[in-house]
């Protein structure tokens, strides 16, 4: 079964990837810190306060969340992950994107070769539906299809 959700494009692009889902605010620095310091490109989540993601890889996956939280270095962390090839395939937000994640998505798009298509305002229904491992397809117009 495939369900379709329409959001707003922050950084446009087409991508297909498996979903990895945070039901709570995504702490960018805490999540990427360990893998970036160890130069690991699988980007295993190191945020012990996030039971949804802790110890799960995030690289090249469709990272789904309500918003990001935490340090104002967040945008730089996404930029670094993108430059290393350790970034998620795309960023999908149920709520309006926050200023730190927006900066990260835009910095990656403008300053690296590894853009992360980013869509926000997908709604709580999206976050309730999408589960780890589901296949996600992002279209240029912000349409997100989720297949179980």
């Amino acid at each position: 079964m495939t369900r379709t959700f329409k959001g707003r494009v922050v950084v446009c692009g087409e991508v297909r990837a498996s979903a990895v889902v945070s039901r709570q605010g995504f702490n960018t620095l805490a999540s990427f810190q360990k893998s970036l310091l160890a130069k690991k490109t699988d980007a295993v989540c190191s945020d012990q306060n996030n039971p949804d993601l802790y110890n799960k890889p995030m690289a090249r996956l469709a990272l789904c969340m309500p918003q990001s939280i935490g340090s104002t270095t967040g945008g730089l962390v996404f930029l670094t992950a993108s430059a290393m090839g350790a970034s998620p395939a795309c960023l999908l937000f149920s709520e309006q994107i926050d200023s730190l994640a927006a900066a990260g998505a835009i910095l990656s798009d403008v300053w690296t070769q590894n853009s992360m298509p980013t869509v926000d305002l997908l709604g709580q229904e999206f976050l309730d539906y999408v589960k780890d491992g589901m296949q996600v397809a992002v279209a240029m117009d912000g349409t997100v299809s989720v297949s179980d």
Binding site: L36, N49, T73, T80, D98, A103, G104, L107
Partner: protein
Amino acid sequence: MFLTEDEKDILTGGQGETLAKIMKTLVMYGDTFHAEKFVEVTGPGGHLVTSFGISIMSAMFDVMDEIIDAGIRTKTPFTVDPRPIDNKNVPSSLIQMIVARVMYGKQKNYEAQLKKLGLRDDNSFTCTCYMDEVGNIPGRGDVLSWAESSAVVYANSVLGARCNRNSAFIDIFGSIIGKVPNFGLLLDEERKASWVIEVRTSHTPEAQVLGSAIGLKVMERVPYIRGLSKFIGSDLTDDAKAYLKDMGAASASNGAVGLFHVDGLTPEAKDLGEMLIRENAQVYVIDDDEMERVQKSYPVMWTDPDAAPKLCFIGCPHLSVNQLISWTERLEKSLAAGGRKKICVKTVFTAAPDVLTAFAQSPFYGRLRATGARLSYICPLMYMNNPTAKNLPVITNSNKLRTYTNSRYYTDDEICSIISKGAAI
């Protein structure tokens, strides 16, 4: 966004490819938040959050090099967050020092990049650039391109300046272009409160726990705080400002607060009062029980929860001169009461280099040093990011440090007892 002819020229590459990329970043950022136009950055200077030359951040160094190679500088000199290493004043094992040297192996190069870009001077490394001794103090209504969450919330709330919670690099780019997209906390309407905080404690609430409670509840929303000025006064004295600095930092790190109003105290609340509260604002009552509940909710991240503390950090965000004086008197009194002369846990008080210089000229400097305490300009958070420091049983009175590291939070009174009397934790 509406762009002026000059802004369009920059965006389309008329003033160079790198400046066009900087402008494109800011335009996309503004468009994301429905900014209608750019507004001029004002005030004495920018403030950057990225002060650390972590080797892995190669993308950051590459972008900085590209900007510098294009001959671009910020419009005004800027300050930046604290340095990550101070081996002279902060206790570190040999292995810690080696790892820190490798981890922050690009520090020297990065500081050279900052100077080329417009760093004010070698003493500009602090998260509290708004201290009198440092002097990067925006006025009311100034529009800023700052990042560092604790500085942003202070500038907005206590100084009445206007700044969004910007990410690293957005802060630099706004300082280069001299403009920022006009949205969020730059707008009157967005500075109104959607939460009312009723403080009903029986005594002055611990600033760091109150801020934490507020942040955890309201997240990125603006709170209007009632009932606090009866404890900390209705004038922005040095003590009141220090209290709001610590409360704000906790609210910004435990949540994502960028602006708060305190009834009868902060500038906009004094002028506009409850007109700042939105219709249908939610209410959060904080009493003694709630303060206790919040403090007890903090997880203990130590490998051995019963370990004796080996290190204590006081000063995240960096301390004011008055706070250093107050801690000196407090420690002396507590040591005397316990019949001791020296503290029994290695303790580092952190402050801006210019604040430390000013403090060193006062008689309190020698008195604080006589207790065995140390003084440093370091960022405790950066110290704790060192993998070899993560398992150290570190205590702190900083809720920000607790949030981002394995350190354990205690109130000021508890910290004082632990470090001066060896009180059980």
